[in-house]
């Protein structure tokens, strides 16, 4: 096992990883910027290094700097969390070169799977249904030809896109013509790769993702799914597991299909396969996330398996000590993301508690919310035996959460949880737009 791990991230996920390290007896090394010096992850870590001013480009995204800190502090591995360098194959390669373990997939499979159109080719071969679409399209003529074959409406997506960015909804041929060049430019700027592809637009649909863990010995388990259909502008707000829209037999069928596929493609580490579930009950594969997800806690609360610890164990070469049979999908876990709507200093913080209530955050009383990083303040996750009980618990916990000094979306989240459509589980991706 690694004696020391560097956490190349900030915020609640850095705190989450440090907690796992503390339980496992691993020394944790935090990196932070001047803007984050009063953050909880800095206070909790065993060793801490300031890596610059607030701007993430020169700090949390500075690969050489982070490697230098790891070498200086003699950290054996780097956990990238999510965002920042977590899906950067070059960074994983740089770690490998310096004999530091990157906690995630190896750089080769990262390079291969992060290209969405290539990944789809691979996944199609495993028998999973993939959203009808194209491989990389280079010219507008190619795009028009492909579009008429698939049929409108459709989505124009960037090959290297992610996190809801680089996606355009296209209704007709003239719109495609107008958007194509603009989308190429934008993708080039945002992801340093202007490649685009076309995908059928499926609506109404639900966003369902399956969590997997795979070790080096080709043991693969699927830890069930998460329903992430409550989204605003492609940003997830509420996630739950299991999804109220999937029957038990369908779930088992999908889980079997997915574990088989992951074994075939030889992926190692924690990962998430994202699907759209259409109104006929069919799953269409969209993409795969090669990292820890923000909403991993939902699956942890439901199944009782610690995904972060297993990421670390897998990276150090350990085998999974459980099989698919040990995974019980019983009860219901729901997560509400608490986002900041303004900057400011928290002068009062009350965190909800009680049985099976979890609040993952990095803020403490006196923390100043800055505009430099994303707006996620914390994740409120509850678990109960039934969905109804979970909803009640979530409502009560949301009311108990107090963050004074920073404006939050607590009230809006409560309204969503109180909504009939959400309560009876019959929502889809259009939920937020129809409100």
């Amino acid at each position: 096992m690694f004696k020391k791990i560097l956490i190349a991230n900030r915020g609640e996920i850095a705190v989450r990883i440090i907690r796992a390290c503390k339980e496992m007896g691993i020394t944790s090394v935090a990196v932070y910027t001047e803007a984050d010096s009063k953050s909880l992850h800095v206070a909790l870590a065993d060793e801490k290094y300031c890596i610059g001013k607030a701007e993430s480009k020169t700090s949390y995204l500075n690969q050489e700097l982070i490697i230098s800190v790891a070498l200086l502090s003699k950290a054996e591995a780097i956990h990238p969390g999510y965002g920042f360098l977590s899906e950067n194959a070059d960074f994983a390669k740089l770690c490998q070169k310096n004999n530091i373990v990157f906690i995630g997939p190896n750089p080769e499979s990262m390079k291969l799977f992060s290209n969405k159109s290539k990944l789809k080719e691979i996944i199609t071969k495993t028998g999973i249904k993939v959203i009808p679409g194209t491989v990389v399209i280079k010219t507008i003529d190619e795009a028009e030809k492909a579009a008429s074959a698939i049929g409108y409406p459709l989505m124009l997506k960037a090959c290297e896109g992610g996190g809801g960015r680089g996606i355009r909804l296209i209704f007709n041929a003239s719109m495609l013509k107008a958007s194509f060049d603009e989308a190429t430019r934008e993708a080039l700027q945002a992801f340093a790769n202007g490649d685009l592809y076309i995908e059928k637009y499926i609506s109404p649909a639900r966003h369902i993702e399956f969590q997997i863990l795979a070790d080096e010995n080709k043991n693969v388990v699927c830890l069930g799914e998460r329903d992430c259909s409550i989204q605003r502008k492609n940003q997830k707000l509420i996630e739950e597991s299991p999804s109220p829209a999937i029957s038990e037999t369908k779930r088992l069928e999908m889980m079997e299909l997915i574990t088989k596929a992951i074994k075939e493609i030889g992926y190692i580490g924690a990962g998430t396969l994202e699907f759209l579930l259409d109104s006929n009950g069919d799953f269409w594969f969209m993409e795969m996330n090669l990292r820890l997800q923000v909403e991993h806690g939902v699956t942890e609360m439901l199944t009782g398996f610690d995904i972060v610890k297993w990421q670390i164990r897998i990276a150090s070469g350990m085998k999974l000590d459980f099989t698919q049979k040990d995974i019980k999908i019983k009860g219901c876990a729901i997560e509400c993301r608490i986002n900041a709507k303004s900057c400011g200093t928290t002068h009062l913080l009350n965190v909800p508690g009680g049985p099976s209530v979890r609040f993952d955050t990095f803020i403490v009383t006196g923390y100043t919310m800055t505009p430099y990083y994303d707006s996620l303040l914390g994740k409120l996750i509850v678990f109960a035996k039934t969905r109804e009980e979970s909803l009640r618990k979530l409502r009560a916990s949301l009311c108990e959460l107090v963050i004074e000094g920073v404006e939050t979306n607590r009230g809006e989240q409560l309204q969503i949880v109180l909504d009939d459509k959400f309560s009876n589980g019959s929502y889809d991706l259009t939920f937020m737009n129809n409100r």
């Binding site: 096992m1 004696k3 496992m24 691993i26 009063k38 003699k74 150090s316």
Partner: protein, 275 residues
Amino acid sequence: MNLFLYPNNQLEEGGRPSQLLEQQNQIVKTCPNCRREVNKDKGVCFCGYHFRISARERISLICDANSFHELFTGLKSKDPLSFPLYKEKLKSVEQISGEEEGVVCGKAKIGRQNCCIFAMEPNFLMGSMGTIVGEKITLLFEYATKNHLPIIGVTLSGGARMHEGLLSLMQMAKTSMAVKYHSDAGLLYIALLADPTTGGVTASFAMEADIIIAEPGATVGFAGKRVIEQTTRRTLPEKFQKAEFVLEHGFIDLIIERSNLRKVLTSLLRMHRGE
């Protein structure tokens, strides 16, 4: 901001050893004695030269695996005299050595026998004795006296820490008192003098042990050789202040090679228990 306590969880077992650490252990060093290249993790050259090793390496070399439990952590030096650049110096040596202070104390098992152990850290201002080093060693002797435990002390020091002036010198008296109380209780104290053991440390707890062992070739003395030569205007013998020379003149009892150390300490502890 040090609000949190340490959970002291043992490291989980399993997985493969890290390549980074293996690579760092394989760093080759040139032996200053015979000029041959030596693998650093061996710690001893073919010619018998003993490289300096850190306090924790020393502890893991002497004690039974996973038996060391550190005591008196979280004590850090202040800058009572506002000595120029002392604070900065402390910060940088803390990073270099990975230790909070110049000595690591704790209880452990050697050959399955309970004992207390302290080891001084060469990478922390050459193990110099300031107020905290003195305090930690005193605390350890008091702890050992209370719990009827023998003490193994690895001394490695340039002497009293000049940055803390008279306060450092006071540690000589303080630690000596604690050694005396420990001795009066009929308990065993074995000192292992590593290279170098000099100045205020030699003049206090290093030379007060019941059994004084030295590592081969270690420098053991009070004032430095050059200082004595310049003051007395006399040339001193070549091996002056080397462990072998000091043994010949009756100041130490034994010279033990690093590889035999655990065996010798185990039997000494056993003999003292009357087994």
